[in-house]
């Protein structure tokens, strides 16, 4: 039994609205799983179902091998961290950490042991006597994590924990959560709409859309081999360029340009050809010195340039489609220039325009 959380055929309806449908998800022990998706995709709802804060319409939930479908949240062996921190405002930090334990009639010394351990891990000892109102956003979120920590549970649930913080703090805390995970080695399920958080933190990412999991895989896999158009479009910034064309005899035909698909790993047997969409990440369009490794080359006219320091984005039109290309930060281009670009078919993605699935 190496699953920490198993979700089986989960349905959740709010009235007639089907928020989650026939959802299955198994999460390994010690895994850091991120539920990623735009708002309304059901990711938070799923987390709430796991926590027992929402009653499921059908299906089962197992945590640590126990069927907890009907169990109270506090009985499920989970700790949860909320976006708004949800600290009890009139209690001190210590009170916040210990309230649940005191309520469970845990012995006093055990409580203080756990509180000081959590405070130690999160480095919030100096704050213990303060009230939440006297803390910064980052400190509050640490306390909120601490509240989950003292519960001494195997599964941690994070509901967009960093969304209320500014960019700098978010990055800092992200690293800390990652460290925390390595230190504690317990299972973490983390909901976010931020792909950077997802990519950096996750062992596996579950990308959700309309109550369904679109793809469940490692960040690397999701980035390189998106399973469908939605995932491909969702991950990456700026997002993938999509070029509409046709597959014929092992080549992708694009408005006069022929791109041989040799080296491309087809996901399904779809060599017979037909209409297709070629997806190219801006950073996978080669320019300048890298052009050497490209199998196909063409020339486009630069329309707009966005220098970003580390790299430069250029906008152009290829085969009637607006595309963006990521160039070296030191590249000197200006609108009107002709630039030669090239592709590597093995780094591209192909999608069926009908099913939107990866070919």
């Amino acid at each position: 039994m190496n699953y920490a959380v198993e979700i089986k055929d989960l349905d959740l309806y709010f009235g007639n609205v089907k928020v989650l449908q026939q959802l299955n998800l198994d999460i390994y022990k010690g895994e850091f799983l991120v539920l990623l998706g735009s708002s309304g995709c059901g990711k938070s709802t799923l987390l709430n179902c796991i926590a027992g804060l929402l009653e499921v319409t059908d299906g089962q939930i197992f945590i640590g091998g126990n069927n907890v479908t009907w169990a109270q949240p506090s009985e499920r062996g989970i700790g949860m961290v909320f976006q708004s921190y949800a600290l009890y405002p009139q209690m001190t930090v210590e009170g916040n950490l210990s309230f649940g334990l005191r309520n469970a009639r845990m012995p006093r010394d055990e409580i203080s042991k756990r509180v000081s351990r959590a405070a130690g891990i999160l480095q919030i000892e100096p704050l213990l006597k303060r009230k939440p109102a006297a803390l910064s956003g980052g400190q509050r979120q640490r306390v909120a994590i601490g509240r989950a920590l003292v519960r001494d549970v195997d599964v941690f649930l994070f509901d967009e924990p960093l969304s209320n913080l500014d960019a700098k703090l978010r990055a800092d805390l992200r690293v800390e959560i990652k460290k925390l995970h390595e230190q504690l080695d317990n299972t973490m399920i983390y909901v976010t709409h931020d792909q950077i958080e997802a990519m950096t933190l996750a062992d596996r990412i579950a990308i959700m859309k309309e109550g369904k999991i679109m793809q469940l895989a490692s960040p690397n896999e999701i980035y390189n081999r998106p399973r469908n158009l939605y995932v491909a479009d969702f991950i990456g910034s700026p997002s993938m360029n999509f070029l509409h064309g046709e597959i014929k005899d092992g080549n992708f035909l694009l408005d006069g340009i022929t791109i041989p698909l040799k080296g491309y790993e087809f996901a399904a047997d779809s060599s017979q050809g037909g209409k297709a969409i070629l997806g190219l990440r801006p950073e996978h369009i080669l320019t300048g010195d890298n052009l050497a490794s490209a199998t196909v080359r063409t020339t486009v006219t630069v329309e707009l340039v966005e220098p970003m320091g580390s790299d430069t984005l250029i906008y152009s039109t290829l085969a009637g489609t607006f595309i963006h290309v990521r160039m070296d930060g030191q590249a000197r281009v200006s609108p009107g220039d002709k630039v030669e670009i090239g592709f590597q078919p093995e780094r591209a993605s192909l999608f069926d325009p009908e099913t939107e699935d990866r070919l």
């Binding site: 190496n2 198993e6 089986k8 055929d9 349905d11 026939q22 299955n24 998800l25 198994d26 390994y28 010690g30 895994e31 009653e55 499921v56 319409t57 059908d58 299906g59 089962q60 197992f62 069927n67 479908t69 009907w70 062992d203 596996r204 369904k212 999991i213 679109m214 793809q215 469940l216 895989a217 490692s218 690397n220 896999e221 399973r227």
Partner: protein, 309 residues
């Protein structure tokens, strides 16, 4: 940790195992529900009974009122008490029922609501967006004014009205309602205008609009909801007023509440409870209608009126 590169087949159906599944079964008649709905039901009855008694009694004839109990439904429905309450009930020599009071109340309420809302909205706008020197002092005075017991100001206002020659006239009462409604309404509008994005105001100023231009063309169109709230607040408040009506108007311009109290307490011979009840319902009809029709807005109105200070 498992091989993270393997993507799980998402759409496949995992086999369910034994044990709990789906929602935790709940009896419809759980103890909690019986307690909850039972309590709510009893409470609802307590709140609903007076209205029920009023309606039922007002539809009975006098003989039935005398013999029956107040909770039994009428054996024979008659609208005569309503007619009488509306147009025939007497106070002294005048037997024109509540209709006069009703029209008086309309005549008092309509201009009072309009004027007080206009003045308060302009006040609130000036306070929220223009912040001239001393504005806060006046605003604080105004807010404290809302806590002064009316009795303290009762007589000074008599003098004030006498000095401007409006004592005992409808216009006088309109002024009184405008004055006493001002604190809450001003606060309401000030808070609302403060909540609008300031950029809007700044943009309008850059575009060269003046005080009134911004108010009429930028602010007003955006404040329909708060106007609705203010109007609901004022209509019910002014319609239900008794004290000011008694003190600042004469019998020929008594508002409906005062007329009701007079009719009910001016008995000649037998007390006609059915007529009294009908009169009471008629008096409450306007605010009740507003309440039932505007529903959510009414709730917002009182909540907004409540956040004074």
């Amino acid at each position: 940790m498992a091989d993270t590169a393997v993507s799980t087949n998402v759409s496949s159906t995992a086999s369910l195992r034994d044990g709990p599944r789906g929602p935790k079964p709940r009896r419809t008649f759980s103890r909690r529900n019986i307690l909850l709905y039972g309590t709510l039901f009893v409470i609802a009855v307590y709140y609903a009974i007076p209205l029920y008694v009023m309606i039922v009694t007002s539809l009975k004839g006098m003989p039935e009122v005398r013999m029956g109990n107040i909770f039994s439904p009428p054996l024979e429905i008659t609208f005569a008490p309503w007619v009488k309450a509306w147009s025939q009930a007497c106070t002294g020599l005048t037997c024109k029922g509540l209709s006069i009071g009703f029209w008086n109340s309309v005549r008092i309420t309509v201009p009072s609501v309009i004027i007080s809302t206009i003045i308060a909205s302009v006040n609130g706008y000036a306070l929220a967006n223009w912040r001239f020197k001393g504005a806060n002092v006046f605003f604080t005075i105004l807010i404290f004014g809302s806590f002064i017991p009316y009795q303290v100001l009762l007589y000074p206002v008599v003098i004030l009205l006498r000095e401007i020659g409006l004592y005992g006239k409808l216009a006088g009462l309109v002024i009184v309602h405008t004055i006493f409604g001002m604190p809450i309404l001003t606060l309401l509008f000030r808070n609302y205008f403060s909540s609008l994005p300031e950029e809007l105001f700044k943009a309008a100023r850059v575009d060269g609009a003046g005080f009134w231009g911004i108010f009429l063309r930028v602010m007003l169109p955006m404040s329909i909801p708060i106007f609705a709230v203010a109007i609901i607040l004022q209509v019910t408040g002014i319609w239900n007023d008794f004290l000011f009506g008694v003190v600042y108007t004469g019998p020929e311009s008594y508002p409906m509440t005062v007329a009701l109290n007079n009719i009910v307490n001016s008995t000649q011979g037998v007390v006609e409870y059915n007529v009294n009840m009908a009169a009471t319902i008629i008096t409450g009809l306007v605010p009740l209608t507003i309440y039932f029709v505007s529903g959510k807005l009414f709730v917002r109105g009182i909540a907004a009126g409540a956040v004074k200070g």
